[in-house]
């Protein structure tokens, strides 16, 4: 498996791809985009991208995402200036810098979201 920071890069991208897949299956969105002249045909391509990204994420982390993202929208969120962008709460100062290989993922104490540090 790639180092954790690279897995989180893949996970945050996968989360955005999941949104794109939902948009692609949303009839209202399809009508709107169609009216504007945007083509939206190869949805199965997105599934392939999703599989490619998932293969770069450790099983337990991926399963945590699959399970929790059903409950919490935008499960993976960036941290900006020590503020969780999911719930806007400040993280405790003890919360350290970028995740390093071998360490567990960081989650927000307030909202439980997975924190993504850029």
């Amino acid at each position: 498996m790639p180092p954790l920071n690279e897995q989180l890069d893949a996970l945050v991208t996968l989360q955005d791809i999941d949104l794109m897949i939902r948009e692609s299956r949303d009839p209202e969105m399809a009508i709107h985009e169609g009216r504007l002249g945007f083509a939206r045909e190869n949805v199965q391509r997105l599934e392939q991208t999703r599989e490619r990204l998932a293969s770069r994420i450790d099983g337990p982390l991926l399963r945590t995402y699959e399970r929790m993202s059903r409950r919490i929208p935008r499960l993976v969120v960036p941290v900006e200036g020590r503020v969780c962008q999911g719930c806007r709460m400040s993280l405790p100062t003890s919360s350290s810098g970028r995740n390093t290989p071998g360490t567990s993922i960081e989650t927000c104490e307030n909202c439980g979201r997975i924190l993504y540090r850029i």
């Binding site: 945050v12 955005d16 791809i17 949104l19 504007l36 002249g37 190869n42 997105l46 991208t49 900006e80």
Partner: protein
Amino acid sequence: MTSPSLAASRNASSLESLLRPTLFVSELRSKKKASVLDELAAALAAAGLTRSPEIVAELLREREGLGSTGVGKGIAVPHARSTLIAERAVLVARSAKGIDFDATDGKPVHLLFAVVAPPVEPDPIYLKVLADVVRAVRLSRTRQRLLEASDFDTVREILIHAAAE
């Protein structure tokens, strides 16, 4: 000055608040679609909209993989919503030479509007911004004036007027 209709003023405001001088690329360096998307993402990062231009570029590419956002008549509206985008934005970019963007009419693209937003669901404003952009450039004289405009302020004025028309 005639007062614009309510609908028109609503139209104007959607683009008005989003168009910014830092979100303007007067002439794209890239000629190929893939590298143009990289250049757009880099410009968004330079304007402070994202700190992850590589991922944003990848998402724009994935959206294009679904089908081109080159809507014809030299216009493309690459767009994506991402966790790594700070706020809604429209980046305006031009290419005098034109870019092969797999547009629906097969013609090269000269005007690009990259529309990005955070992943809020549902986001009717995001959909409205996409519609406003396409609407603003429906007339050929507007497109011509946008290509000839000497600076961002002129581009902004043309777009806001065209969206309100």
